[in-house]
Amino acid sequence: MSMSNTDSDLWQKYLAGDEAALGSIAERYYSTLKHYGQKFSVSEFIVKDCIQDLFLQLWQNRTQINDTASIKHYLLKGLRNHIFMHIRSSKQMVTRELDWNLGVLEHISGESILIEHEALLSRVEQLQRLMSQLSSREREAIYLHYFQDMSVGEIAEVMQVNRQSVSNFLTRAMSKMRSHCQPEHLFIFLYLFLKF
């Protein structure tokens, strides 16, 4: 299957019963799905299983599936549901809240992105601390918005909440991120001001 096929071509072929086309879709979005899936507090192995289940289910239900504007969003939403179902069945309790996992950064050198390494590390550390103070939904919303390029409407669909909630998550999360920057500036400013 050539990679020059557009998403929509592949989707049409898949709907017409071409399993190789669905395989190509899996190939195209595997990294994105894996990346998103691993943001939830489940093991990599479970994410892998959930992605496989997602594609098998897509294949089995192909006659009930319609055309979609964005395959990526459709898949992310599907994966989210699969992971959610997995967590619910393994924990044996009903929870609408998904833990949002914060990865640790080990392999990044500040210089490689034109930032002094120590400065980058301290910023990353502070941001991770801040991120851990956000709700898991706020974290997920900013990830989907800034990392997966999803609109408020699309995030609302993936996270199964209304658009207003998504807007609130994003505004609150970003204001926390910003408010972090400013006091520190103020301290530096005061420090410099008092020094001279």
Partner: protein, 213 residues
């Protein structure tokens, strides 16, 4: 062109994210140039870069090779699912034919049952309808015949050897007439007059032991 005045603008910019996460040498020159032209935005740039890395999380270098094998697994399982569904489709195409046959088989079964049932009922009715008149009863090797007088007056029954019986109402006469032996059972009242032409002995049994039939 993005002006990069806010954290959001950095984060939402594809080129910026690709640079921070991909760290390609060709982008290095571009961003180095950009930073030297916009020194006042370095603070935002650094914060956005850090946030971008935090959002991305830790990516392990091994993942790509691992992904390839996992993608292969998905393709394989999809292929197997398709093979299974082809078999299921074959099974489904057979089933409708059987479904069309099912009512036919049902009708055929009903016809057969009806035929046997009808035959049974019919046989039954012929037996019951002959009861008041002459009936042939097979008892061992012999051939017994029964005559019942259902009339209200006496009835004269003439047997095949010329003998005759005058049977009272309600009387039953059982007779077995052969060349070797002539036997008669009588239930109820009757006058017997036997023919003397026949050489075979005539036996009469009192009327309480009709032959087992």
């Amino acid at each position: 062109m993005t002006t990069f005045d806010t954290l959001e603008e950095f984060l939402a910019n594809d080129a910026f994210r690709e640079w921070i996460l991909g760290r390609r040498p060709q982008d290095y020159i571009y961003w180095q140039e950009w930073l030297s032209q916009n020194p006042h935005k370095r603070e935002l740039y650094e914060q956005a870069a850090a946030l971008c890395l935090v959002l991305n999380g830790d990516t392990q270098p091994l993942q790509e090779a691992q992904h390839a094998s996992e993608i292969e697994q998905i393709k394989q399982s999809l292929h197997e699912a398709k093979e299974r569904s082809i078999l299921e489709v074959k099974a489904h195409t057979l089933r409708p034919r059987l479904k069309w046959l099912a009512p036919l088989a049902g009708v055929a079964a009903l016809v057969l049952i009806g035929f046997f049932l009808n035959n049974f009922i019919h046989n039954d009715s012929t037996i019951s309808s002959t009861v008041p008149s002459v009936e042939e009863v097979m008892a061992s090797k012999d051939r017994w015949q029964k005559v019942v007088n259902t009339d209200k007056s006496d009835q004269l029954v003439t047997l095949t050897d010329g003998s005759s019986v005058l049977l009272a109402p309600g009387g039953q006469l059982w007779h077995n007439l052969s060349a070797q032996q002539r036997e008669i059972y009588l239930i109820g009242e009757g006058f017997l007059k036997w023919s003397e032409i026949q050489l075979a002995p005539f036996s009469y049994t009192p009327p309480f032991s009709p032959p087992v039939c």
